[in-house]
Amino acid sequence: MTANTGRTLAVREKGKINLGSWLILFLTAALFVFLALTRKNFYTYSNIHSILYEVSFSFFAAVGFTLLIIMGELDLSVGSLFGLGGALMGLFIFNHRLPVEAAIPLAMALAAVIGFAAGLLVTAFRLNSMMVTIGVMMAVKGYNWIQIQKFGGRQIPRAQWNFITVELFGVKWTILAMLATALLFEIFLAGSRHLKQLYYIGDNFSTTILYGLNANLVKVLCFTVSAALSAFGGALMTCRLKHPHVTVGANLEIGVITAAVIGGASIFGGRGSMFRTMLGVFFVFLLQNGMTSYDINSYVQQIILGSILILAIYLDVRINGKRT
């Protein structure tokens, strides 16, 4: 299973084909073909483009999440921090009359502070990261509601959201940004010591401490990055919707965990790939799109998605589990 752990010099172990790492590609392709064959309007440029457009926002909530899951930490606050990006956009644009180019970095910075604090608590007190981030999720979600309700559906002026519609080569720039981000992280995860050490930390935390890595610092930084990028995605999403909305980022963490785990990451750490996480997010959205096109009720979609999550985690436990 070398493929999931970044680039290595050596030749693959002979005769071993790793199903796990190709699973997501296979699933996505199968679902894609199925929908293309059975749904009339599916295989059109505009439909695929619009799915990718949706994916491109949510993907940013999955970036930091993937970095953290590689180290065996789970960040459940990504959904609400995604929403926070939107709430803060409203705050800065409506209340402080800031231009969008200032609002987005500011929103990211504030979110980063929250992520940094969460990371600090997790590492300093050796807390379960899921527990801490559930608390963060609740608190932030509450704040988002309060803020966004104050705006009362007020629209962001066109001049401020216009940039989101920019296209390059006939493709929305956020899609290109997503692809570039995934590619960049993938390359760094495979080849640069800064990100490659995440796999080492995830494989055996104590070993990395023993040989002098500052693993706690790395974790705190990744919590920070996770929060900032989630807020970035949410801010962009808000620009697309043209107004802050409370549903932005709602239950996104479920989709993101599912995406990362079916993308080959393990909740036990040491495995994961940014590119495959992106495919995982695409798969989740494709599935939702497909289910909607089959007129499947959104609540039933929720049942199906939740079941896939539990199944994926179960397989993870069976394959990678040091059972507890």
Partner: protein, 512 residues
């Protein structure tokens, strides 16, 4: 009927291997009804494995255990309990969140109309505690607030109230002070007088000689002798049995001359390293090219010293000098930066990246050195380095991408040693460098250690194997009761001398 009494518990031909390591080889002896039977031997002699088998926690590969002439066939703790065999572990299996009384009686046998009757529970617990003379422990208090010694007594009490036929005590006095140990030994004597059979494991010679009826010595997984504890039995005889290997023909060549140059500069100096109730102030000096061995039986403080020297465990006091520079704060990051490396004693817990390719393992401590623009790693150089190390250490690998998890123990250990040597350290602290690996890998690792020392690297080696220490070290420090009690230089090594220091704290043969 003496046979039945003599062979109350009959152990015949027990063999158990873990991987390539033989933990027990054809061990046979018997335990009498109503005796205190001590099993002793160096660390790794196979005592714990044997006790686990008797206690039903693991099954032997071959051989038989018979209790009162009936062969035991199922090896699970519950079955052993049913037969009346109970075991008190060295790592306590107690419930700190619950009261003393509930720890003594986990099955709450005192009910009134189905409800637990706490009054009688506490009364019964009180009377059991009184029986042991534990006046200060109250049945109602949470066990977590009781001192370690008390917790130990409580676990023993839990076994005793089950009215067992045999109880096994694994180093019960290791966490106790003399007065507490005294109390425990008195209780064991009384239990014996009441007809209980006790199997006792300990390193403390004095108490062994005081309470045992018979003593069985194991060495390297083999049965050596069962001795009657008569007044004629001397400590020396026991020590000779424990260590009496024939070293002339073995793979070990005992060092007779120190390999370190007398004028070699001091690399590392430990001054007054101490921690409350686990290490008394300790000094240690290491010169370039020198190998200093540290020996001690379990619980003597060797483990603490090794971990505190590298900052893996906090210290209360003390400082470290590396090539004359003072370090009051010690942590692995500082040590690694100063080119001090640490070979961990338990490769399963830390020391390897089990699921990462060997190349990644080897590059871990030198990531910075092999990174270029933006931190990108120079995979070609890492690959070359890995190939060199694998060749130099004769590590048997299918390919460079093999993961340590799939390697044998010996090869894992060699990979771990390689990781420590990749940064070209000046000082290496090695902790049990050859635990649980086969003889071939063992000699190779010894050769590597001697080799790097000859190139000027200073090595501190912590080991529980005397022959290993004697063949590697230029001098050996011996620890007992959290202090260094003696130092022996190359040329003066005998197993008896070293073991005597470790066991009784002095080299004189007269005894205390």
């Amino acid at each position: 009927m003496t046979a039945a009494v003599d062979e109350f518990l009959k152990i015949s031909g027990i063999t158990k291997t873990y991987g390539v390591v033989k933990a027990l080889a054809d061990v046979s002896f018997s335990i009498r009804r109503g005796e205190i039977h001590t099993v002793m031997g160096e660390n790794g002699a196979g005592k714990s494995t044997l006790m686990k088998i008797i206690g039903g926690e693991t099954a032997p590969d071959s051989g038989a255990i018979e209790l009162e002439g009936r062969r035991i066939r199922t090896f699970v703790p519950a079955a052993a309990h049913d037969l009346g065999i109970h075991m008190v572990h060295q790592e306590l299996a107690v419930f700190e969140n619950l009261t003393v009384a509930e720890n003594i009686f986990p099955y709450h046998n005192f009910r009134k109309a189905g409800w637990i009757d706490y009054a009688s529970l506490h009364r019964e617990a009180r009377s059991k505690l009184d029986l042991f003379g534990l006046k200060t422990i109250r049945p109602e208090e949470p066990l977590g607030s009781v001192a370690l010694a008390g917790q130990q007594m409580v676990e023993i009490l839990r076994c005793i109230v089950a009215e067992p036929k045999i109880i096994i005590l694994d180093e019960p006095t290791s966490g106790l002070n003399d007065r507490e140990a005294d109390l425990l030994l008195g209780i064991l004597k009384r239990l014996k007088d009441e007809g209980l059979t006790i199997i006792y494991i300990s390193h403390r010679f004095k108490e062994i000689m005081r309470i045992s009826d018979r003593i069985t010595v194991l060495r390297d997984g083999e049965f050596v002798a069962t001795l009657e504890n008569t007044p004629e039995l001397s400590e020396s005889e026991l020590i000779n049995n424990m260590v009496g290997r024939d070293l002339s023909a073995s793979l070990y060549r005992i060092k007779t001359v120190s390999g370190a140059a007398p004028d070699a500069p001091t690399l590392l100096e430990v001054r007054g390293l101490a921690k409350k109730s686990s290490l008394n102030p300790t000094d240690l000096k290491l010169a370039a090219g020198e190998i200093v061995g540290v020996f001690g039986l379990e619980g003597s403080g060797v483990g603490k010293l090794s971990r505190m020297m590298y900052g893996l465990e906090g210290k209360d006091e003390g400082e470290l000098f590396i090539k004359g520079r003072r370090f009051a704060k010690i942590n692995p990051r500082i040590m690694a930066a100063e080119r001090v490396m640490y070979l961990n004693n338990n490769r399963k817990i830390a020391g390897l990246l089990p699921e990462m390719p060997v190349t990644d393992n080897l590059s871990l401590p030198v990531l910075k050195r092999f990174s270029r623009f933006l931190g990108f790693l120079d995979f070609r150089r890492i690959g070359r380095l890995a190939t060199d190390f694998i060749k130099a250490f004769a590590i048997a690998l299918p390919s460079l991408s093999t993961r340590p998890a799939n390697l044998s123990g010996g090869n894992q250990q060699k990979v771990m040693l390689s990781i420590c040597l990749v940064p070209e350290p000046e000082i290496v602290i090695v902790n049990e460098p050859t635990r649980g690996i086969d003889v071939g890998a063992k000699t190779e690792i010894h050769r590597f250690l001697l080799d790097i020392a000859s190139k000027g690297v200073g090595i501190v080696i912590f080991s529980s194997e005397l022959p290993e220490l004697m063949s590697l070290s230029d001098r050996i420090l011996v620890m007992r009761d959290n202090s260094v009690v003696g130092e022996v230089g190359a040329g003066d090594y005998t197993e008896q001398t070293l073991m005597r220091y470790a066991a009784v704290g002095s080299a004189a043969t007269g005894g205390e």
